[in-house]
Amino acid sequence: MPIIRKKKKGVIFGMSTLWAASMLVSILVLSWIVWHKLQARIESLPEVIKQLQTPSISSSGKVTLKLYFESAQTGELEMEEREFAVTPAKDSSSKRAEPPQLPELAHMALEALSSAPPGNKRLATLPKGVKLRNIYLDAAGTAYADFDEQLAERHPGGTQAEMITIYSVVNTLCANFPQIKRVRFLIGGKEAQTLAGHVDIKQPFNYK
């Protein structure tokens, strides 16, 4: 009995050690492969987002944005393209020039809506002095355009003017940034019922 037990113990110990070692090596190799694959994807992700978020910038450092103004004649929205000079920001860590991101370009586009284009054919659609405080984008493609209180205080009012303001902002954002599917308005960082008493802005608006 003691001889059999000794022999059996040795065999069992040898096999289990070999099995455990091979399993450990397999796990380590698999983990290493998965880690490197994930790392490669994580590193490439910001580049993909940048391509999606920014309209193309020319070699001379200009970006063309689509802006929606009110037609002086018809009272409908009309699109016109305008070039903006962009100054690439220096990334301090990598020392390379970074193209402007969505919030910066959105600020540029929306603040341009406060000034009528040259000529008398098209009109501004945002009151002068209105500032876009911030813009956020959620995973479902809803942009939250947060304007300061001046938007409500300086707005001329009336259903026509409210509709023009709302859809000029919505169309300008959706036309320039394809990942924006719809736009919701915030005033002073808060939800509001209307801009000036008429159009319901509690829900997001789609591109028209």
Partner: protein, 237 residues
């Protein structure tokens, strides 16, 4: 049911069979709620001469109420008859609580152009802002969708007023529009909003203050509603 009643039903069914339509009975207008837009701390559009929208809408609503009572014999309820602040929900609530047959909100328009003039008649736009991430919260659905079953009737009311306004020599331009207007959303009855003219235009503002133009605005709305009433009265094929 007596023989005469039974005979009427048989005749109507036969007419329906011949014309390919089903006879529909539509309710006459008995109670109309007029909503003078803005009021109190909310002055609405401010005119170039300092006149405020809330004052013009109240004057027009009172004149229109008298005309509707005299010419149509309907009961008219105003959401406000003085300069007071009302929420949008209070305004629509009056129409719903009165079990009215029609709700009309009166406003004066504004625009970025100082030259735009004319009337706009709005009905509620059907959900141009819904979609993923844009759906109403479940608790809000009853109020948000109250107007849905009256889209067609609301458009018929707007169309009837539009046709009268288009024939007027004093009203320079008239448009039928749809928009997601908060005051129409919760209305559980036919409803529309009329932007009478633009206070952002000096010429339109001056015109709005004249008795002649006010009388014309009252006339076209009143006669539009009379046309709508005629289209509803009795059996309609």
């Amino acid at each position: 049911m007596n023989f005469r009643g039974f005979r009427h039903i048989v005749i109507l069914i036969l007419i329906g069979m011949f014309t390919g339509t089903i006879p529909v009975y539509a309710r006459e207008l008995k109670v109309i709620v007029l909503d003078p837009g803005h009021g109190g701390s909310d002055s609405g559009v401010k005119g170039l001469s300092g006149i405020q929208e809330k004052g013009i809408t109240l004057i027009l609503a009172k004149k229109l109420a008298l005309a509707l009572q005299e010419r149509m014999g309907v009961r008219v309820v105003l959401t406000r008859d003085e300069d007071e602040t009302l929420s949008v929900y209070q305004r629509t609530g009056v129409a719903n609580n009165q079990k009215a047959d029609l709700f009309i909100s009166l406003h004066v328009n504004g625009d970025f152009s100082p030259h735009r003039t004319g009337m706009q008649i709005y009905t509620l736009a059907a959900g141009d802002y819904t979609g993923p991430g844009g759906d109403s919260p479940p608790e809000a659905l009853a109020w948000e969708s109250a107007q849905n079953e009256f889209f067609l009737q609301s458009q018929q009311v707007a169309q009837a007023i539009y046709e009268q306004a288009s024939r007027s020599s004093l009203i320079q331009n008239c448009q039928l529009r749809q928009a997601p207007l908060l005051v129409l959303k919760g209305a559980h009855l036919p409803a529309c909003l009329i932007e009478l003219d633009y206070m952002s235009s000096k010429s339109a503002e001056e015109r709005l203050l004249t008795g002649e133009y006010q009388a014309e605005l009252v006339r076209v709305i009143c006669e539009g509603l009379m046309d709508y009433q005629d289209s509803l009265s009795g059996w309609r094929i």
